[in-house]
Subunit: 368 residues, 2 copies
């Protein structure tokens, strides 16, 4: 199992990640606390898609005392958005609605450029704005949502990033990220830039404002660094809430950048997406007879995962699908056809909103 | 002898620096080439204050073929400007006049902040603009001179700096600058930013423009890196011309930040400056009788150095002073009184122009 900000590989043991990273499980007590404020629990909480956190108790203590938090999340724009990317963003939108929270959304085009040998700066920067359309299409509040490309907001970010950088030795980034002598100096510096949105609202307001970062657990290394350095600059440690990775469509749930059929991109034609799903790896048996007799295994099925993570927010309907699969009542073909139809429909609606987002883009973008 | 961008210590052997850094001596042939274009030789060339270079022959080949160069120099704004800082700037102004060259003048407030534990970002940034007044007071052409703080021009600079950073490993900066695991990641990244003005005119014009960097030899390490990386980005290697360090007023020519009496600052009151000079270490004898009898030693005299570097552009008068000292005709008291008067007069005129520069500042400053 390898889980770093740049590589996720192998069978993921989430309990082990909690131990290794030193985060905390989201307890029932904490769930109750969230529910008290939000008046409901998002299905991603109920299903433990968001499963781990740092300092959420502190964050709600602050909230209870009348000190609201803001949100920070982001995206490394190395290509088009796929459905897996939407998981934490959809949850972030829910948090924004329920807690009336500002959101800083960072597009780390600088990071993707320095870490990916073949990616040009222009490509990374252009994907930042393509990906922003997907963020906006999810319905974030333009009055409270600030999306920025690191490159195009560099004047503001660099001034704060050098403050983080001054407190951060090569030893530390070597230990946290596993950097070696052949890493480039852009890679070595970068985490300083990723730290900035974790205190930028405090800089703007001139007083400490709590920050909550919803993100996939692979990015934790960056925020361990931020939590170490920010108090040295007089800021709060950011709180965080971590989600699992949505599997891809390939065998073993692999999502591979070199194989576009393993992911569904938000810009895929609905028909193309449907075809990918019809070719997906499932937890089904070798033939219809066996499937009827012994049932399928939704626990290892990528198609079921898509329902679980995104396409079936209704818990009862999801349970029904699970049981029907287990009992051999639901064949993979039918199940895939259903997911294909829902996904195609989702994409049609999303792409419509995504096109409208082009006109709204300027309202969301922070630039120097 | 230690000569790095951050520390100059010990007896400086300039021939050894040429060997160790791999630069070239300015030959008589090259001098003749400069003179052909400039129609004169600046006293800093005649006296070999500028003594070393990289690729000047190539630069003049380009110039002869009708391809003009631009100039780039800079300053680390950790405090007020002293007279030693003016040496390369005065020469740069001469180059601008003689070769009708644009100048990018970089104030590395980011560098000073990350390298100096006690310096705040606000101080460094504020000194950038204080130091800019001294640059402007020297008479640079506002239509062709672009002064910028790294912090306030970061949007433009960072976008280019990451391109340099991507080509630069920790191994390389470790070897060139002697960085270790306890250096901070801002220090490690910084040379990427110092490289940018060496190709920024090429970025702006969309075609390669030769660049000449006049600078004190201690900064050579940065431009070795730039010369290594820039061709990988499709740009020319910058040419450079290197000057010696003007000694301070202390024993052995020491200039010490912790001892303000060892330097004359451009903001010193003329009387204060005069008093510092009257207390300077000289090459004189213990008493007047010995001085009359055996003569003084101008070769180790800081007062003579001030005449040599800055306060006596007339070669004949300088030679006369040298001979008079050697032969015991000129006593240290008289010599210091003369330098004190000239320096006070220089400061009065400079400070007048420096105050006027406040109104002109905006015409010179590049900001995002």
């Amino acid at each position: 199992m390898i889980v770093t900000p740049w590589e996720v590989r192998g069978e993921i043991d989430y309990d082990r990640l909690i131990q290794e990273f030193g985060t905390e499980k989201i307890t029932d007590q904490l769930m109750a606390r969230i529910k008290k404020h939000a008046e409901e629990l998002h299905y991603m909480l109920r299903r433990r898609i968001f499963f781990s956190h740092r300092d959420l108790d502190w964050l709600f203590d602050e909230y209870d005392a009348g000190r609201k938090f803001y949100l920070y999340t982001g995206r490394g724009p190395s290509g088009h958005t796929h459905l897996g990317h939407l998981v934490p963003w959809i949850f972030t939108k829910w948090l924004q609605d329920k807690f009336d929270a500002k959101l800083y959304f960072q597009m780390t085009d600088d990071e993707k450029f320095v870490f990916m040998p073949e990616l040009s700066l222009e490509e990374a920067n252009s994907f930042a704005y393509e990906n922003a359309l997907d963020v906006i299409a999810l319905g974030f509040d333009p009055a409270k949502t600030f999306i920025f490309s690191d490159l195009d907001y560099a004047k503001t970010l660099y001034r704060e990033a050098v403050k983080v950088a001054k407190k951060l030795t090569f030893s530390t980034v070597k230990a946290v990220f596993g950097f070696e002598a052949d890493n480039n100096v852009g890679e070595i510096f970068f985490t300083s830039v990723q730290s900035v949105p974790a205190f930028i609202e405090s800089v703007k307001q001139g007083r400490n404002v709590p920050c909550l970062i919803p993100h996939a657990i692979d990015q934790d290394a960056h925020f361990r660094v931020a939590r170490d350095v920010l108090p040295k600059l007089g800021y709060y440690k950011p709180a965080a809430i971590h989600c699992r990775f949505m599997p891809g469509l390939g065998e073993g749930g692999k999502m591979s950048a070199s194989d576009p059929s393993s992911s569904i991109f938000t810009v895929d034609k609905p028909d193309t997406a449907a075809a990918k799903i019809m070719n997906a790896f499932t937890g089904g048996r070798g033939n219809v007879e066996d499937q009827r007799l012994y049932g399928g295994n939704p626990d290892v099925c990528n198609v079921f995962s898509y329902f679980y993570f995104l396409m079936e927010p209704d818990d009862k309907a999801l349970q029904q699908r699970y049981d029907d699969c287990r009992r051999g009542r639901l064949l993979c073909g039918e199940c895939k056809a259903c997911l294909a139809e829902r996904t195609a429909e989702f994409l049609r609606r999303h792409q419509e909103k995504r096109e409208k987002a082009r006109e709204e883009l300027a309202r969301f973008i922070l630039k120097d």
